[in-house]
Symmetry: C2
Subunit: 139 residues, 2 copies
Amino acid sequence: MNVAMTDSHFELRPIARVESPLTDLAAAPMQAYEDAPEAWLVFDPDVVDGLDGLQPGDRVVVITWLDRAARDVLRVHPRDDPNNPIAGVFNTRSPARPNPIGLHPTEILEIDGPRVLVAELEAINGTPVVDLKPMLRRQ
Amino acid sequence: MNVAMTDSHFELRPIARVESPLTDLAAAPMQAYEDAPEAWLVFDPDVVDGLDGLQPGDRVVVITWLDRAARDVLRVHPRDDPNNPIAGVFNTRSPARPNPIGLHPTEILEIDGPRVLVAELEAINGTPVVDLKPMLRRQ
């Protein structure tokens, strides 16, 4: 099974890009609730029909591909703080991990055609978005 | 920007596989809270260091790649029910979407080396796992 696992892979395609005043990775907040700014998600015209029915006020999870992150790291000091004991990446929210997927719970503030404004997004300008899902009430 | 978006893609690699009594896609529950069974996540030995520090009782989000899902669908009847008005896939939890990423909030019940038992997973046997993250308290 191991051989089959490492040989296989899946192709992830960006559906949108983040348009944000955050441009400096080092200065970006680590979590959305740490003073992250509003940001626009600019959708590819090919997938804009997938937005049907979404409205301002909806709680959503934005899923990004953190394309600057290291993929060969399995242990980190959480929050890049050497005082935090080292932990496996699957036990942290570090962007460094085999598949650098970012999960960003947030709220839709405005929709203008292929452009969706969300509150509190800690991803930097240009980050690829790979999915958008409504929050479940039970989540 | 559109050309650059559709031309680029990212390579997602499985880090684990789901081992579950659910084998029939049609019979699988649509959400974890709808009587989904416990399931084992069997990690690739190459990434097992990433599990360091995880413990039974931890709330986590399992991220899967729903490899049987249609990727060219942008509008669906939610929950496959024709009585539900059609909606954009980004406004639903349908597996059908451009990037069929599954988010599964659950709890770790047991860890045995590269094998992690979780409660309530609605993914079927053999589903690839692409990431595992701890729940944030604020999520």
